[in-house]
Amino acid sequence: MVALVFVVVVGLPPAWVVAPSWSVALPLTGVTSGLVLSAAAVGSLVTRGALLPWVLVVTLATWLASAVVVSRRRAPRAGAPTPAPGEAAAAPGPARAWCLAVVAVMSAPVLVGSLGPATEYDERAVWLFHARWLWHGGAAAREAMATAALGWSHSDYPPLVPATVAGLWSVVDGGDLQLGQAVTSVQSWLVVVLAGVLVAGAVRRRAQLPVAVLAGLFAVGSFGIAGGFGTRGYADLAWAAMATAAAIAGLVLPPTPATTRLAAVCLAAAALTKSEALVTVVAVIAPLIALRWLVVQRRRALPGLAALVLAVAVGASWSVLSARFGTQAQRDITGDGLAALLRGDASQVDRVEPALRGLWGYARTTIVISTVVIVAALVLARRPRRELRLGGGWWLPTAAVGSFVVALAALAAGELDMDFWIGSAGSRLVIASRALLLAEVLVVAAVAVDTLVGTPRGVSPPPGDADDRLEAAVVDLTDRPLPASVLGRRD
């Protein structure tokens, strides 16, 4: 409870700036609190100062800036069109607050897993160890990062998860390992809930309750995909959920200023959570989102693309800072290994087949049964999806394949013993690709529910003006234009 309150209190004001809706802003605090506290940790590192003052200053500054932004937001203009009777119930939009309640109540029991002792390997050797560095202040942390003898802890790993833990430690009960484990678990849970709520908000309001129930299944299932690591102090589910939320916002939901902000913030946070997340963001998810926005919006996509570039830059900034701090880290994957793989050197290419076999072993159930549903939806249910102005059914699976390829390349380019690596980390390497596939299945289910619930009499789908619907018609490379009968209809 302490962990939840801390994350929500720190992250709510900036989350409200990103998404002024309780159903989205509350779970988004899992992302924004991490970003705020990462900034505080960087301040502490740069100045070699204590962490607590930076936590207070950065948090208060963020709250203040958020208050200014919210107060300056324009109220609806006088004379703006009001929804016709029944239209509100028919329009997609942010999920209602009780959707959040349904998803949260259904999935909260998974957090009981975080009540055990904090004893997992990476949890202690990497994440909570780094949190301890940061909690001891910038000088101690810089010294530890630059100590080669501590390089086994992957000193170059990004700061979001340990900074959140250290932030809480700096204000209450410093160094408590179980509290640290609880923070990471709550953070992962909130972002998983966020992904589910975003899908619930993609359908019309009268369909949102049943979709919220399905989103609850998705949230619990995400912790199943994480295989126990979701509540044991690991960062893998956190970044996978951030990447999935970003992908839903950028590849599924209609491109709007709100979804642009959401996608950018989640991408930046994912990239600041783990090294392979940065690669996945830069090489897979950000380019896919940019492509979709370019196709859908053309020149109007420029602000969104700028936001994406900024998000990637923020995510990549840690690598620059870390190098500047003289970080001495043992690296499982080196540039030489990757170059050898790309050159086709037998030493690395021979690792591809066992890596593929290992990853497939962990992901095959999700891949096979999700693919059946996704392909069936692509064949049978494209029109209802277009009517909701949602991105095509290929986007999330493409992101999933890309994420899988990144994991495969990492194993093949690396130098660790393959059996050891697959056995110790293989299941975690495919969390993101499995979560993306499961998210697409949730979208398919949500659209099917929306179709079943139907449109109220006298209301014409899709909502929005004709330009919006024309935009939705060319929504992505996989969608065909809407029929003229739909495009020609005016509300």
């Binding site: 055990g116 202690r124 299944l217 998705f218 509540t231 999700t366 049964i369 549903v373 949730l442």
Partner: protein
């Protein structure tokens, strides 16, 4: 039919989530964690008794072994881990005793030159 199939996929994964949560909260994961917690506490007590605050130490590369990492984590802030091979700086290590001494066979030691 499509909805049923999608719900089935979500349900299968949710069921897995429930089973995983049970394992973590009260099953094999929890039992292993409880054992490791006792082991961790034993190592911490041994390290506290052995290493005075402010001590500069070197450590060997622990490889995949976790025990030394737990000790260094516990002592972080009290000790200073340094690089190099200065023989005047003692080596903090965890030796594994086949006879089962120390903490289930893990013995925290501070080796000094000579």
């Amino acid at each position: 039919m499509l909805l049923l199939a999608a719900v089935a996929v979500l349900g299968v994964h949710a069921l897995r989530g429930v089973l995983v949560t049970r394992d973590v909260a009260s099953g094999p994961w929890r039992q292993r964690a409880d054992v490791l917690q006792r082991h961790d506490a034993c190592l911490a007590a041994a390290a506290d008794a052995l290493v005075a605050p402010g001590t500069r130490v070197r450590i060997p590369d622990p490889g995949p072994e976790l025990d030394l990492k737990l000790v260094v984590d516990h002592l972080f802030g009290d000790i200073v881990v340094v690089d190099g091979d200065d023989p005047r700086v003692p080596v903090l290590d965890v030796r594994h005793d086949p006879a089962g001494g120390g903490c289930d066979g893990a013995v925290v030691e501070l080796r000094r030159a000579g």
